[in-house]
């Protein structure tokens, strides 16, 4: 969030005219450094702030193997705060990078990670497991949400591919809308038939970081890391895809296949995030846009920056969620929208003025 004040300066450099390769590289380096610094600051704040006041000196001391923390404080930092920061970062990165990928792949600025029915699919998967009463089986719940999310996207794909027009981005989008409505209706039906489980269903689906543990971190990490790696590797592809299907094809891209790779990777990241943290809105929509507008950079750079800024953004939002009304908690989705929307408007205004 700190970089908002630097916007004007940057935009003078990154004006409409195409900057030279050297300039672009300098800009990439500068923004990468800023992004890492922001993430570092966010992690530090995330570690020091919380419902319980623990001295930062003590925490630093503990991290280096000494210090004056009581056993209880150590437990709070090591088993509650640290995994929560880690999970917030992981989920923020996953949602932002998949939002970025969806927006480019569908050439749709309103695309978000839940676009293709992954949210509805995850909700249905979780609801079924809870209703069947097997939610206690280890991994059953996150696994069902994960598979549900991927199933939703898969269904959208299957629908789009049967259209005579082929897998154009529009038919995929329409397929996603249809699948999302259908799965949501199915989920609501199952839920209404089993209202006893309403609380458990909502507790799982609604965005939540308050019950984070290392277990969830290790569960999500491999998928998020894999998806981030794939999307980083295909960042040039994303730039080509964002030009449009015809242009991309004329540039030699295998549009259908390339888009599939990107969408599958993004869906993996989203599914992993939903499985461990429920549905957290707004992150995947605003972070990539904010990065794009603030840096004026192309998708090539935005993919990586979205990962870093997305992680930082959700960590900081979660800090607010657990400190503003401490020892109470605010729902994380409220924070991401309350902070995200005005911030987004600010970036929009500033970047609009520069152009």
């Amino acid at each position: 969030m700190k970089h908002a004040s630097r916007l004007e300066g940057t935009h003078l450099v990154a004006g409409p005219a195409r900057p030279s390769a050297a300039r672009a590289r300098r800009r990439a380096v500068r923004w990468t450094v800023i992004a890492f610094a922001t993430l570092f600051v966010a992690v530090v704040i995330g570690l020091f702030a919380g419902a319980v006041r623990i001295s930062p000196v003590g925490i630093i001391g503990w991290m280096f193997g000494g210090g004056s923390l009581t056993d209880q404080q150590k437990a709070i930092v090591a088993e509650l705060r640290l995994p929560r920061v880690a999970l917030a970062g992981l989920v923020g990165a996953a949602l932002s990078v998949s939002g970025c990928a969806y927006q480019a792949a569908f050439r749709n600025p309103l695309a978000d990670p839940y676009l293709l029915g992954s949210a509805a699919g995850a909700g249905l998967g979780a609801t079924i497991v809870i209703v069947l009463g097997v939610a206690d089986v280890p991994l059953a719940l996150p696994a069902a949400a994960f598979l549900g999310a991927l199933g939703g996207v898969g269904l959208a794909y299957a629908m789009a591919s049967t259209r005579a027009a082929g897998r154009t981005s529009t038919s995929l989008l329409l397929g996603g809308v249809a699948v999302a409505s259908f799965l949501t209706a199915l989920q609501t039906y199952v839920q209404q038939r089993n209202t006893d489980d309403l609380r458990a269903v909502y507790a799982f689906i609604l965005g939540r970081l308050g019950t984070s543990s290392w277990h969830e971190v290790w569960l999500a990490l491999p998928w998020v890391a894999l998806a981030c790696a794939v999307l980083l590797a295909s960042r040039r592809l994303l730039e080509v895809l964002s030009l449009g299907d015809l242009e991309a094809a004329s540039l030699g891209a295998h549009v259908t296949r390339d888009r599939a790779v990107v969408v599958i990777a993004a869906s993996l990241a989203t599914a992993a995030a939903v499985a461990v943290a429920g549905l957290i809105g707004f992150v995947g929509l605003i972070v990539p846009h904010a990065v794009r507008m603030a840096t004026g950079a192309s998708n090539r750079l935005v993919v990586g920056l979205s990962i870093l800024f997305g992680a930082a953004f959700l960590i900081l939002c979660d800090v607010l969620a657990r400190t503003v009304v401490a020892p109470g908690e605010l729902p994380i989705g409220v924070i991401t929208a309350l902070i995200g929307a005005p911030f987004f408007a600010l970036v929009l205004r500033r970047s609009g003025g520069a152009r």
């Binding site: 919380g50 419902a51 319980v52 056993d71 209880q72 437990a75 709070i76 090591a78 088993e79 509650l80 705060r81 995994p83 939610a135 206690d136 209202t195 006893d196 489980d197 609380r199 458990a200 507790a203 939540r208 308050g210 019950t211 543990s213 290392w214 277990h215 657990r322 009304v325 401490a326 020892p327 109470g328 908690e329 605010l330 729902p331």
Partner: protein, 322 residues
């Protein structure tokens, strides 16, 4: 009357009446009893939803509130209940139906031809729809205090012609609660508790009904610190719960969310809590905990026993270390 002109016929009638009277009083059916008071109908009841007029003793009651169902059965009006909503799972002979209290279907209710509908929340214009159909309805909303519970039981007693039994049940309930308070004595003073509504740490403050009931034992509620977040049911930070280290952890999410003492002990950072180590995790029945019916005394007894046990183990550990 022609038939009873003879002496024999008259004798037969008298003896039949005697048998009928004799058999009716001792064999009280499980669900209810014949009204004990000669209530004066039509009567007007000053209820939460205004003045409710009953032309005759209701015999076809539809209960749209699990708490009201429990109360009606407790005061002996169970036989007059012909249908209860889908959540009315207690007592076991309650006529549970598919009627939904969350999305009341007035046509389905009217289909049972009720002469009284009892509800807790007026969802989906239930009251105005029933007004249009001229079906009398009593609102017995969520209680804020134990006195509300007593008042609702008495009101239901009055309406159903079981005022005496309701009064008796209320005084029995009061006695039961007082006996728990007496049993606990000063043991609860200064003891803290965390009341868990679900496994994302939603809790209830002392401003809620359950909080008010538990404070009868002198317990301190750790959720009261979070009143700023929400006066009734705040979501607590796990960090805070661990730091507060409550003497008792009261789980009201054993049914909804499958929580138990073992699972609580496995939560990250919770294993060292005193309540976890000393058996202070109490598994409550979600249904009883979320209602305001007569079984609240049983819940209080369960917590009271836990308080007594916690104090005993605290003494033991002091003795052990000293």
């Amino acid at each position: 009357m022609q038939r009873f002109r003879s002496l024999g016929g008259l004798l037969l009638l008298v003896s039949l009446l005697a048998v009928a009277c004799a058999s009716s009083s001792p064999s009280v059916p499980a669900g209810g009893s014949t009204p004990t008071t000669t209530a004066a109908y039509p009567m007007t009841i000053d209820a939460a939803n205004g003045n409710v007029t009953l032309d005759a003793m209701p015999t076809r009651i539809v209960s749209m509130s699990p708490t009201a169902t429990e109360m009606l059965f407790a005061i002996g009006a169970g036989d007059q209940v012909i249908a209860a909503d889908s959540y009315s799972n207690y007592p076991s002979d309650a006529p549970t139906t598919k009627l939904s209290a969350y999305e009341p279907n007035v046509e389905a209710i009217a289909n049972d031809e009720p002469d009284l509908v009892v509800y807790a929340t007026d969802t989906g214009d239930l009251q105005s729809s029933l007004d249009k159909l001229k079906i009398p309805a009593l609102s017995e909303p969520a209680a804020a205090t134990l006195d509300d519970v007593y008042a609702q039981m008495e009101q239901l007693g009055l309406a159903t012609g079981h005022a005496d039994e309701a009064a008796a049940q209320v005084s029995a309930l009061k006695q039961k609660i007082q006996s728990v308070i007496d049993q606990v004595g000063d043991a609860g003073k200064g003891m803290t508790y965390y009341y868990e509504l679900d496994d994302t740490y939603y809790s209830a403050t002392s401003d809620t009904f359950i909080g008010a009931v538990l404070s009868e034992l002198g317990l301190k509620n750790i959720a009261d610190q979070a009143k700023g977040a929400s006066s009734g049911y705040p979501q607590l930070s796990a960090e805070y719960i661990v730091q507060a280290n409550p003497d008792l952890i009261l789980l009201a999410d054993t049914k909804c969310c499958g929580q138990d003492a073992e699972k609580v002990a496995k939560r990250p950072g919770w294993s060292d809590l005193d309540a976890v180590k000393d058996g202070g995790v109490v598994e409550l029945d979600d249904d009883v905990a979320s209602r305001w019916g007569p079984r609240i005394a049983d819940l209080l007894q369960q917590v009271g026993d836990a308080v007594t046990a916690a104090q005993a183990s605290a003494h033991a550990s002091v003795a052990g270390s000293g």
